[in-house]
Symmetry: C2
Subunit: 543 residues, 2 copies
């Protein structure tokens, strides 16, 4: 028997309409490419979004069209999110750190008809000029006075929207309608597209809002360091408007001193980003001797947050929430805020717990599966491939049957490619990406666990553990370290730190220094590149 309730399609534009009405004074503060700091309320943003929708229509955009963006975090990018999805088109965010080849691939694969670009990235397009699809319209996200001279035929954002009315007759769309599109960074083969729907986007926003109220509440001032060009900035642009949190948009200035300055001047209360970004902020906090004064929570995800990083912030009364997720999950899967039953637990226990990847958010189901495809118990010991299910998880990749087939199992769950255990009380512990796992003498070694400990050595600025081929053991772990200025940490000392936690045969065979670790397009350490860099390296015991 069916209930007798209205069925209103969940819809992205309703998030902003709500903010404009109920949290009208909440603001979007943007460090703009023009060099200024720009402030705009949700009320005004909703009006400009309506103007932009008219502008898009004037460019010929209709429902289902893919409209691309190549931009930093800022209010115009936010307006694009809502105007494009709101009118029924699909907002395709492009990661500017992709290679030229990958960028052309996804513009072609998505069949983008219009591309909005920040001033910063116009040179990228100029370099690609002869390869861009014929008919692709390009709009520069700036005003007339800042328009660059260019060989490209460029539209101007502010001119595009200026003459239009500040309201728009937003269509009622079925909630399954595609709202946005994000490609993986393509560390393995060509990038693959996740095509989010209005339903998945709104539900994901509600799910993270109820899960992370410490970041997401009325009056919060949230700084998304994670870019809007990757997985919709982890959903913050959708969740903040519901609860009435302001968004402090850093533009392209993501170095430690810039972030610190912005956090201080804008009284930022929470910020979300990947570990590499926090290395920079951490150094700045050390230099200044104190953290930004209003900062209350950082959410760290995208790669494992080293325990030493978590402790650094927590020791300064900044709550750390370690989160795990992926592009294909919109992205949040698990979050690591502690249950209040641990309020009085010793610091070390709390930090140990926080180093895990956290527990599932409402709306996400997890299972781990052995090599035989059978479910493994959630006993904190069994390690298997992690599969997920939920309304904000993809059911397949955009126009990519092969990748879809490889990713979805017989029960309809999505295979994450991560290898993990789950404890009886629900804590996820990511051991490795399956492709980064180190297999030594038939046993797996978790590179994440080793890195976590190496990072706690005071002379290690950053590190990664990779697998190196070995004639007898198949693979052996090697520790690649970026030392702190003027330091040269010793392998023996790091072994001593690892000793209590690992079997002898699990310890890295060697330590090598590098000046910097290669990063992926999403700002994570690229182990693929690192393994390529070390292709000719030979292990000590086989030299």
């Amino acid at each position: 028997m069916h209930g007798l309730m209205m069925n209103r399609p969940l819809s992205v534009i309703e998030l902003l309409r709500y903010a404009a009405e109920i949290h009208g004074a909440g603001e979007i503060v943007s460090v703009r490419t023009e060099g200024d700091l720009h402030r705009q309320t949700y009320a005004r943003t909703f009006q400009r979004t309506a103007q932009l929708a008219h502008g898009l229509a004037a460019l010929g955009v209709t429902q289902g069209d893919r409209v691309a963006t190549l931009a930093w975090n800022g209010h115009r990018h936010f307006e694009l999110y809502y105007a494009i999805s709101g009118m029924g088109a699909v907002c395709h965010t492009i990661n500017p750190r992709l290679s030229a080849e990958q960028m052309l691939y996804i513009i072609g694969h998505a069949e983008d008809t219009v591309l909005f670009v920040d001033l910063t990235f116009v040179p990228i397009l100029e370099a690609l000029k002869d390869h861009l699809p014929a008919g692709l319209k390009i709009v520069v996200m700036t005003d007339a006075s800042h328009m660059p001279t260019s060989a490209l035929d460029l539209h101007c954002y502010e001119d595009l929207i200026a003459s239009h009315p500040t309201d728009y007759d937003w269509p009622d769309l079925p909630e399954e309608t595609a709202a946005s599109l994000c490609y993986t960074s393509g560390t393995t083969g060509n990038p693959k597209g996740s095509l989010y729907s209005h339903r998945s986007t709104v539900l994901h926003a509600l799910f993270i809002a109820v899960t992370l109220p410490r970041s997401l509440h009325e009056g919060a001032r949230l700084l998304p360091v994670v870019p809007m060009f990757h997985v919709n900035s982890w959903g913050m642009p959708y969740a903040a408007p519901i609860v009435g949190a302001s968004l402090i948009m850093p533009g392209g200035k993501l170095d430690g001193p810039s972030l610190y300055g912005l956090m201080e001047s804008e009284k930022v209360t929470a910020s979300w980003g990947v570990p590499t970004v926090w290395l920079g902020l951490r150094a700045e906090i050390e230099a200044r001797g104190k953290p930004p004064s209003s900062l209350d929570q950082v959410v760290i995800g995208g790669s494992a947050a080293p325990r030493s990083m978590i402790e650094f912030f927590e020791a300064r009364d900044i709550d750390v929430c370690h989160a795990w997720g992926m592009t294909e999950m919109s992205p949040v899967g698990t979050t690591g805020q502690l249950p209040n039953t641990m309020n009085d637990a010793p610091f070390a226990d709390r930090m140990a717990r926080k180093s895990l990847q956290g527990r599932r958010i409402f709306g996400v189901d997890l299972k781990i599966v052995g090599e035989d495809g059978q479910r493994l118990p959630h006993d904190g010991k069994a390690v298997g491939e992690l599969y997920v299910r939920g309304n904000a998880v993809i059911s397949g990749y955009f126009n990519n049957e092969d990748a879809t087939k490889a990713a979805i199992d017989a029960e309809g769950w999505f295979g994450t490619g991560d290898v993990a255990s789950i404890s009886p009380d629900g804590y996820l512990s990511i051991q490795d990406r399956s492709k980064d796992l180190i297999k030594s003498g038939g046993e797996w070694i978790s590179s994440i666990d080793l890195e976590n400990i190496a990072m706690s050595h005071p002379e290690v600025a950053n590190c990664a553990v990779i697998a190196i081929a070995h004639p007898k053991w198949d693979e052996r772990p090697v520790l690649v370290v970026v030392p702190k200025d003027g330091c040269q940490p010793k392998l023996a000392d790091i072994h001593a730190l690892m000793d209590p936690h690992f079997a002898k045969w699990q310890l890295p065979d060697d330590l090598v220094f590098v000046d910097a670790l290669p990063l992926t397009a999403t700002g994570k350490v690229s182990k693929l590149t690192l393994r390529q860099q070390f292709a000719d390296y030979v292990l000590p015991d086989v030299r």
Copy 2:
């Protein structure tokens, strides 16, 4: 174009499954009819709910069946909510304050096959014995040692569930599946049924969780005074498990001293109820000289919260959130927490704002409509009938075409029967129920506004303004007052309080004293009954 996301049905049982896994130590504390105070974690509750589902199946309950409850707030009622809906049946909560006739009507109309009853209400059923449908199975919500001797054929709740396994293979149900059923109290004609779906229930829970984090957060201890037998206790039993708030269930003890005692001993942080209940708590707070020590927020709705009541709590550092809603809305429509822009506003301004009915929650749309059916502006002045729309609003009444036709307008909105204005910044101001409006000389007078001021008179314990027929003016307002012990407030003094806010012709023509105001089945002042009581009353100027 459709997105490529999994479509997982929103499902009531997932709320409890989540609580059991993630907030497993959160608890349900129940004042039971057996006389004890019972504690049970969400983890244990989920197990007992599985046992109960097996028990229901053993009784012959199958998907779509209506299973009724006649019970106070307590853990067994909570288990019934989840077991019944979780297995695909419909949980029909019966208001024990309905008349015998109405109760029989809705049991028949709903075609209930099983009825679960608290010890307290067994006598009601015994009185109805000869009129209950043949084949109706009755289960008493207690254990074997407390089973009453009765002429009825009674099953025992604890025996029903005892032998069954603590897990259950909860079916995947389409999210539109009916989950629960609640009849209006029938102050006008026969009660009408709202048939909530899994989708509407889960969305409503998410909507109120993101709106009222001060009540709904991990570790909160929430005392639902509003009964689970009416509109699902305003959704608290569904929202609390998501966020990990504990539920403190008062059973049948809703008087001021009992509530105060429970709030104190269980460290209750928030409580939701109708104004009449707060009168009792208020008196107890006055008697003891201080409020319960952990109480941080009260949510008042169901009738207009008098400003004097709001000020009473706020002056004692207890936040008051005035909310408006109705059975047909699951029920929350608007909530009155102030925007943080008012944090530094003077107390009087804050209280004035809090006296309004608040602003729409995410997922609810409001419109006001004039007598010609045209939309009226949200200018804070225009007054019209209030219509609503949203995923948690009914699309019609259960098996009642006439009532449905009367309630849903051409655009598909639901007519609330309330008369209201909406301010430009979204504040709803309920003037009256349309059937309680007073029409004098062709102009409307708001009884709610008059009552609000009369309540601020120190000698008025409770009051209501009703319309009395007048040969010239059609209707004139009369103030019915329950005076405080030993007091006799004067009409002239109350007029003096009203004077600054009303035109002379809007003031009540007379003041009459009563010992108590008649209440509806949901604990609100019944103006219908009051008007009947005063059927023979004659206004002073026509005596």
